[in-house]
Symmetry: C2
């Protein structure tokens, strides 16, 4: 992208100009750019430079300054605003669509946020305040309450001139049609408006079967619908089907990104961070990681118990201990593969709870195949080392067999456990992504030890044991 290369070039110049205090030149450089590019530059600057650049821009072109601020990310954005007076903040955030404004105010320190909200309500800027009444994670919280709607009796021509006078409405692609009590009754695309004679009534050209979102609906559900119906925006209605706002596809993309981030973190075996890694305070970061890590550790302590149970066998045949990490981690790895496959297949709706039995049969076969492959490699390894170094003594063949069969058993079990755990999680109402690689590995470690030592007991009885 030409545009991004230019951003890199301009960053150096901005830095130099800020250092010598050449504010007008900085303005000159920034004002020609897209808010997204300005935000990229702001992010790359240090705190001091960033504040100077933003101040300069806010004086000259408050709208552009705020558009860039909205792109910087809410945490950094709120920090840039926080030192200003509440009245000043109110003036500036009104340059933004209410959903972006609400997100910014939300990210400010509680006290100033409250002051700003009170002031906005007092000034009749109820839109932002109303948004904040909705719960985080719902459609109501991310919608834009300024939505363009007209009555059914209006004509296409009237709609076009209303649109021309509107202004300030974020990205319009659809015109919503409401009855006299603001119930949502239809939708007309902007393009369709252009294609009909001006005197056509909206009622005649609207699509009556509107796909909408409830104001309390989960934002992930909203994102799924916008994406599967290929919408550019979705109207938001209250529980009486009255139009209260709309959500545009760019906000939906942001929701999708956040969801993916959360799933990644869960998949890695930690609680989802609410903020970006970089801006998460150290204490929070450790707490979010420690909680799951301790739970997993407590589970993993059972391996010490299981190993203790086989202590006599290990004492008799120390060679058994040598393969413990190999065997249990192979189970964990195959389980982690199966779990990731299932978590994603469930997330995109490719498989559902009903499919569990079909998956189970397939995964048992996969597990047996994978176990046989790994078991054979293990068998060859023991044989080779025996031939070359005589590592495993007279009973090496039985040791090799133990490794082979233990791997078949543990890998098969790991695959079954890994593939079924996401289904169990979903059935219990939890997020399937909670069945993370570490969780599956811990589960498989304990049972894997039991499988391994049981196989060993059967094969080595009378010789090593």
């Amino acid at each position: 992208m030409a545009s991004q290369r230019k951003t890199d070039l301009v960053l150096g110049s901005v830095r130099k100009l800020l250092r010598v205090g050449a504010t007008p030149n900085v303005l000159n450089l920034l004002q020609k750019r897209h808010p997204v590019d300005i935000a990229e530059i702001l992010r790359a600057l240090n705190d001091h430079e960033r504040r100077a650049a933003f101040e300069a821009l806010a004086v000259q072109d408050p709208r552009l300054a705020m558009q860039a601020l909205a792109e910087v990310g809410v945490d950094l954005g709120a920090a840039l605003l926080a030192t200003r007076s509440p009245a000043d903040i109110v003036r500036l955030v009104q340059e933004l669509p209410p959903d972006d404004a609400a997100a910014l105010i939300d990210a400010m320190p509680v006290e100033s946020a409250d002051q700003v909200r009170d002031l906005m309500r007092g000034q009749g800027s109820a839109a932002v305040g109303d948004l904040l009444d909705h719960q985080e994670g719902t459609a109501g919280r991310i919608m834009n309450p300024k939505v363009f709607a007209l009555p059914e009796e209006a004509t296409a021509g009237e709609a076009v001139s209303a649109l021309q006078q509107a202004g300030g409405v974020e990205m319009v692609f659809y015109l919503y049609v409401v009855d006299d009590r603001r119930h949502l009754v239809g939708v007309v695309s902007l393009r369709r408006l252009l294609l009909v004679p001006p005197e056509t009534s909206l009622k005649r050209i609207m699509t009556a079967d509107v796909i909408s979102a409830g104001v309390d609906e989960d934002q992930e559900e909203v994102a799924r619908n916008v994406s599967s119906y290929h919408l550019l925006a979705i109207p938001v209605v209250d529980d009486e089907n009255k139009l209260v706002g709309s959500i545009t596809v760019d906000d939906v993309i942001d929701v999708m990104k956040d969801v993916t981030t959360e799933e990644f973190q869960k998949l890695g075996g930690l609680e989802a961070l609410d903020e970006p890694y970089i801006s998460t305070p150290f204490g929070t970061l450790v707490k979010k990681r420690a909680r799951w890590l301790v739970v997993l550790f407590l589970g993993e302590l059972l391996t010490a118990t299981a190993m203790g149970y086989f202590e006599k066998e290990i004492a008799k045949a120390v060679v058994l201990a040598l393969f413990v990490p190999l065997v249990i981690s192979s189970g964990g790895n195959s389980g982690s593969q199966a779990a990731s496959l299932m978590i994603r297949a469930l997330a995109v709706g490719e498989v559902t709870l009903r499919d569990w039995w079909r998956i189970m049969r397939r995964e048992v076969l996969s597990g047996l195949a994978l176990g046989t492959i790994l078991g054979s490699v293990g068998f060859v390894r023991v044989t080779l080392w025996q031939e070359m170094f005589g590592t495993y003594g007279a009973n090496w063949f039985l040791v090799a067999l133990t490794v082979l069969f233990a791997l078949v058993g543990v890998v098969t079990w790991g695959t079954i456990a890994g593939s079924m755990l996401p289904f169990v999680m979903k059935r219990l109402g939890a997020d399937p992504a909670t069945s993370s690689a570490p969780f599956v590995a811990t589960l498989v470690d304990v049972t894997g030890l039991v499988i391994y030592f049981t196989v060993a007991a059967v094969i080595l009885r009378g010789t090593l044991l």
Copy 2:
């Protein structure tokens, strides 16, 4: 969503009607629905029912039938088409935007796909054929070559009437402006067209700094740009900046979903599947999983070597073997957490390669904190069991200390390895997501054993060892 509940209800009726052969009634039920909902019903039917329902729809309303087919997913869609004659397929796929048509043809068996392509080229439907000349994963492959463009001299009024006559162009929001050699010189939003007097020339109202995608650009890069600049569509240009197509936001969302799926699979420690799990043949599924699993296994074999190296110590103090799984898996778990955090932070651009040192310092501290927490829990566990069951004999305190310090060391090392591996991968030009939980765990297992036995050697020398 009201619309989806209705879909579930209608599915039963469709099934019943198909069974008694009441095709007109099936048509009646389906024709009123959104293509996405019809696709959902088609997916839920069995092969036989699906074919019957699609045939009925294709005869009556080929456009709707094909729109639904495009939503069913390319594999199932191609299967539904494959039994028809090439001429018939050509007729039907022409109901679709070229990018969807190309994807469907791509998914058909090679022979019929070639016949269809030849036929289309012969009939002058070059658009689809041209798409297929571009490499998979590039902008050129997912773009729609039917793009709406006008010369700079055209007026807003002319643009509106051109738009009214266009038709067949997928979702228009932007009008692209080209010079007389079709170089892309500007863009005008549909809304802006409405706001100016009809005689205004496009040149006066267009934005000249157009964000565009190169035809050979990676589709992920395109998706990133569309999402960060909040675009609804992005024009695609060839290497002379000539306009050759455009990509709409809904296609970008599909790319984002596919990318997420791939990352999930890599994160789970397997090669990305090219098709959905369910439609991946068993052999391919096993192969894609086995390859990484064998690589990891070969790495994990080093644990057997490492354990062999400490065989004498284990024989002297079997108690050491008991904590091996606990210690190494704690390292793996903390490493997996750190890796997922970094992989995602790198993917969304929140951190870059340049930040590695800052992250490293932070993660060393996190690792020490987490290691101390787990180590303390481990210490308490050994102490408790000793008090209650006398499990660990006279030297229990030294064993407890060994577990404590080994955990601090291994967890810190796991955290460092896990957080830095994604940076190393990125530096080497590989996908950071390759540093999957299983990969990190394997890496940490071997070194974890060395750390554990070294700590043990220091603390237990002269007593147990």
